[in-house]
């Protein structure tokens, strides 16, 4: 079966029971995506498929043939950092780092959802054309990514600085 992972075409032979997460980690050697709960409850396995965030642990790999899959390994060129990765470093957006790959992928897709105008459970005006990345919006939209170390404050700051720099500057002032 063929997959497009971080821009590369790859072929893999595997048991149909293999999840997308196990395909990435065990068959393709991409161990950046993490297995926390293996049941959709923590977000450590979040990857991007055609730019949308999903939980790779709940996905059967066979369903994602020929789709463009991006993992934390593909967020930037080797040796370089995505701006969100730099912001995580700057704001201490992690302690042990186990949840970080999932947080990064999730936040990048979350920002894309926001710019497409996808509402959330805390969006007051569903008719709004544009939705600002308020503190409440950010926390609600990122609620699918848990952090056992409780690095949430740094995570929120890093995401805010990267995707809502104006707001971040206001808060600092």
């Amino acid at each position: 079966m063929r997959f497009i992972v971080n821009g590369q075409h790859v072929e893999a032979v595997f048991d149909l029971r293999t999840s997308l997460l196990d395909l990435l980690r065990d068959h393709l050697g991409l161990s950046g995506s993490k297995k926390g709960c293996n049941q959709g409850a923590c977000g450590a396995c979040t990857v991007l498929v055609d730019g949308e965030r999903i939980n790779a642990c709940l996905a059967l790999a066979v369903q994602y043939q020929d789709r463009a899959i991006n993992t934390v390994e593909g967020l930037s060129e080797p040796g370089a950092l995505h701006p969100l990765q730099s912001a995580f470093l700057e704001h201490d957006g992690f302690q042990c780092g186990y949840c970080t790959p999932g947080q990064l992928c999730s936040a990048i897709a979350m920002a894309a959802e926001l710019s497409r105008g996808v509402p959330s459970a805390v969006t007051v005006d569903l008719a709004a054309e544009t939705i600002a990345l308020s503190h409440d919006e950010l926390r609600e939209r990122m609620s699918g990514n848990l952090c056992r170390c409780g690095a949430y404050n740094g995570i929120v700051e890093a995401i805010t600085e990267t995707f809502s720099p104006q707001k971040s500057a206001q808060e600092a002032a």
Binding site: I54, L58, E113, A121
Partner: protein
């Protein structure tokens, strides 16, 4: 997981044929519930028929109705402009469920047919009449905070966990079904059965019957509607109690029409027909809402750990309708 074959169907006819060829075939949507249950060997299909290739169209028609393909993703439905404008309770219900990641994977058909989250259903070391008919039920004396207070039986108190379905019940949605015997339409509120002494039979679907679409009939007053969900944490948790409601109040303050459905309290999305009937023609006041809520919950029965839900449900109903009537709640 037990082994299975996999095939992808691009249309309903092919899906039904593929499923018909394997005795224990299952349709596969986003897999967010089915894959989890297969991993726990609670579901053991011998064949998976992937139905994510079925219609992903959302058709907003001139008459105010909306036709939703069964493979539409939860995120896409919640974000659709016509849904947000004409049926905000549906957008809000979907957005109140699960996480951004799961809503991107989950399909409308899969959401409707997701199975209960009762802890004992998931734990194969426990007794569960739904999983193994006749085995008994460990929820009755166990951790039953999440379990049902309406429509349950001695055999089973598992709830239907969907948020989206609560809004669909309030909207009187119709399901388009297709199976070996042809196509038919049923109301969403008729789909799920109450457990009685057969909690393993959850719906009135025939073997391998497929949901192909969901139809929302026009309901102009649903433009004024909402969804309120009470849960153990602020996000990413199943409902303890939830309410989907739409309210149409006349200039003189009487209720012209109302829709109300409850989640987290019953084995199926619970349309509050009793409360609705009492409220039509009544004044749109908190007192009237409370009286109707009392009537709807009159037959509620609490278990060792969930009796609080009876009062909670009354308060959620009263607060939701009061908010829609323009008061603060």
């Amino acid at each position: 997981m037990t082994p299975f074959t996999y095939a992808r169907a691009q249309d309903a006819q092919t899906a039904i044929q593929l499923a018909g060829a394997a005795p224990a075939a299952r349709y596969l949507g986003g897999g967010t519930n089915l894959v989890d249950l297969m991993r726990e060997t609670i579901e053991t299909p011998d064949a998976l028929v992937d139905v994510t290739g079925l219609s992903q169209a959302i058709e907003a028609r001139d008459d105010g109705s909306i036709l939703i393909g069964a493979a539409v993703k939860n995120t896409a439905l919640a974000a659709h402009r016509a849904v947000r404008q004409h049926f905000p309770l549906l957008s809000r219900a979907i957005l109140a469920g699960a996480s951004g990641q799961i809503r991107n994977m989950a399909t409308v058909g899969g959401n409707i047919l997701q199975r209960t989250r009762c802890l004992y259903f998931y734990d194969d070391a426990a007794r569960c009449n739904k999983r193994s008919p006749g085995a008994g039920c460990d929820a009755r004396e166990g951790f039953n905070r999440m379990n049902a207070i309406l429509g349950a039986s001695d055999a089973c108190s598992a709830t239907h966990p969907s948020d989206m379905c609560v809004a669909l019940a309030a909207l009187d949605a119709t399901l388009h079904l297709a199976g070996a015997e042809g196509t038919r339409r049923i109301k969403l509120v008729e789909l799920h059965r109450l457990p009685d002494d057969q909690p393993d039979i959850e719906t009135i679907l025939r073997p391998h019957e497929l949901i192909t679409a969901v139809e929302l009939p026009a309901l102009p007053f649903a433009a004024r509607s909402t969804y309120r969900k009470v849960r153990d944490r602020a996000s990413y948790a199943f409902a303890l109690v939830s309410a989907a409601a739409a309210l149409d109040v006349a200039a003189d303050g009487t209720i012209r029409d109302v829709r109300l459905a409850l989640g987290g309290v019953a084995p199926k999305p619970w349309r509050a027909f009793k409360a609705e009937a009492m409220l039509r023609g009544a004044p749109a006041t908190a007192a009237a809402f409370r009286t109707a809520a009392e009537a709807e919950l009159a037959e509620a029965v609490g278990l060792s750990g969930n009796s609080f839900k009876i009062e909670l449900a009354k308060r959620v109903i009263t607060a939701t309708l009061t908010e829609l009537a323009g008061g603060v709640a």
